[in-house]
């Protein structure tokens, strides 16, 4: 086993444990902080895959903004942070079955793929991943349309939020 593999296994195990604690812990705030730990693990996996831009954006957007929103929402809406109800509802058996099925399907797909046993070829030393991503986002024969549609969607959400919250005097 190489050093890279050991680092990956440690981070992946940490991410999975954190994700598991998100759904099993009884305290909602703790669940939010475990979620942050899981998202941080995903950022670390992006980093070891040399996707530094995605790693940092993961931290800025998910930990810096979305998790913070979760924490605010939980703190402002609950008087008691401890969730009193049962952790599982009636559909847990069906949910577990679906999850197992999805996992089995993924394992089957990855197993059948020829690239799974290969080591990734190293990046050329002057490869500019951020520049390539930026060009792909604005070039007409790549992703400019999805990028613009997503931007319009976000602006619409922003205007909608302002309209809902606006207090007419």
């Amino acid at each position: 086993m190489t050093v890279d593999q050991i680092i990956f296994l440690v981070i992946a195990a940490g991410t999975l444990i954190a994700a598991f604690r998100v759904v099993t812990t009884g305290n909602l705030i703790h669940a939010a902080f475990w979620l942050i730990a899981a998202l941080f693990g995903v950022a670390a996996i992006f980093a070891i895959l040399h996707a530094s831009f995605l790693a940092v954006v993961q931290v800025v957007v998910y930990i810096g903004a979305i998790s913070m929103l979760f924490i605010f929402a939980v703190m402002l809406t609950r008087k008691d942070m401890r969730d009193q109800g049962p952790q599982l509802n009636r559909n847990w058996g069906f949910g577990a079955f679906l999850a197992a099925l999805a996992f089995a399907g993924l394992v089957f797909l990855v197993h059948g793929w020829s690239g799974v046993a290969k080591t990734a070829s190293a990046f050329p030393s002057d490869f500019d991943a951020v520049g390539a991503l930026g060009n792909a986002l604005v070039s007409p024969d790549a992703y400019v349309l999805p990028f613009e549609v997503a931007s319009v969607l976000l602006v619409a959400a922003l205007i909608g939020a302002v309209y809902v919250a606006y207090n007419r005097k």
Binding site: F33, V59, V60, A65, I71, M75, D128, A129
Partner: protein
């Protein structure tokens, strides 16, 4: 001569020779040297942090026409060490009903969010932790972890004052991140790269002369991000006792305090790096790496001094005024400035150097003037509406 130019590489090679002599595999020796490098950098920063306490107290005493610490040692230099001993031997209290794990984790995260910033600081042409090609975003990401530590501290203390302080501070930090990131993209436009090292290298002319307005907006946003006066909402003493860190005592409080000071110094450094050429000063940085570090620290201390100057001169602004100032003034100005700079950069791409600098400078001044005029007419409109005079009042009748 090699040692003066690139001391880290010489030292690393020397250590590698020693470790190989002990029969250590190359890979392990490299990892060990990397850890040693991080350890030395962090240790030096913490020692600097101790003296920052002294500097802060001395400077504030001068601003307030006092003398400051002057009993222990020459100029009171031993005072911070006495403070540390006091902090270490103080009773470590945990409030009842506190969330123990998060309560203890928060000061560590707070300090960490500052220390990880130094991974991307280019101290000299040859001394740079990591030359991340997304360094600018990395700074914002580290700030996100700082916000997290504050909300953690505020919630886990089981105290309503600390929770209110944490909410306010988090709201401020989240909102001021936006103009900060936007103006940090302006040096990125000039350098053609988001890497902090590349931004320093590209500044043949200091970015301040190309984008003075961006430098000012960055400073305002940085002060808000630091939670210092006039934006010290999180620990407004007169309203919240001490805000998010109220329940902490001993070294845990010390971690927050030291983190805040080092954070202020670090942002002074980033201000210098992004807008004042970093370690560059008329080619002096090429003479020796040590001289480059000295130049960067000198500039960083000037930035830190300006942050202190603002802190001890201005009064605290009310939270709604502060957020309105950010969302209705700073953020739009930053966006307009970014668009203007990108446009001017494209228009002046083939222009001579002097024309480029002049065009950029004038466009900044123009944006600043127009935005101030708009803000002034908006405030006049508001005042006339409240006072019931003028056109606005007549129209609403």
């Amino acid at each position: 001569m090699d040692f003066l130019k690139d001391p880290l590489k010489v030292a690393a090679d020397w250590l590698l020779g020693i470790f190989s002599g002990w029969g250590m595999p190359d890979l392990w020796a490299q990892v060990l040297i990397g850890f040693l490098g991080i350890f030395i950098l962090v240790a030096l920063l913490m020692v600097l942090d101790i003296f920052l306490v002294w500097i802060e107290r001395k400077v504030v005493s001068r601003f307030q026409s006092r003398i400051g610490p002057n009993r222990l040692g020459p100029f009171g230099l031993i005072q911070p060490f006495a403070d540390i001993i006091k902090l270490l031997i103080k009773e470590d209290t945990t409030p009842e009903g506190a969330d123990r794990t998060l309560y203890n984790l928060a000061p560590i995260l707070s300090m960490m969010s500052v220390l990880i910033l130094w991974a991307v600081v280019p101290l000299a042409p040859s001394i740079l932790g990591v030359d991340l090609n997304i360094g600018v975003l990395y700074i914002i990401a580290a700030g996100a972890i700082g916000t997290l530590s504050i909300i953690m501290a505020g919630w886990s203390s089981n105290n309503k004052y600390s929770l209110i302080g944490a909410f306010r501070e988090a709201a401020v930090m989240l909102s001021f991140e936006i103009p900060m990131l936007t103006v940090m993209l302006i040096p990125t436009i000039f350098a053609g790269s988001m890497g902090i090292g590349a931004i320093t290298q590209a500044q043949d002319t200091w970015n301040f002369f190309l984008a003075p307005l961006a430098a000012v907006i960055f400073l305002i946003a940085a002060i808000a991000e630091l939670g210092r006066s006039p934006f010290d909402m999180g620990e407004a003493e007169s309203e919240l006792v001490s805000g998010y860190n109220i329940e902490y005592s001993g070294m845990k409080f010390g971690m927050f305090y030291a983190g805040e000071l080092l954070h202020a110094f670090t942002f002074g450094g980033f201000w210098a790096i992004l807008f004042f050429g970093g370690y560059r000063f008329f080619g002096l940085e090429q003479v020796s790496a040590f001289l480059a570090i000295a130049i960067l620290f000198f500039k960083a201390f000037i930035g830190y001094w300006i942050i202190m100057w603002v802190k001890y001169t201005l009064l605290r602004i009310r939270i709604d005024h502060m957020l309105a100032f950010n969302w209705k003034f700073l953020t739009p100005v930053a966006f307009v400035l970014l668009m203007t700079t990108a446009l001017m950069n494209a228009l002046l791409a083939d222009a001579s150097n002097w024309l480029y600098i002049g065009g950029m400078f004038l466009s900044n001044i123009l944006v600043a003037w127009i935005s101030l005029e708009v803000a002034r007419s908006a405030s006049r409109w508001e005042r006339e509406r409240v006072e019931g005079t003028g056109y606005a009042a007549r129209r609403t009748e």
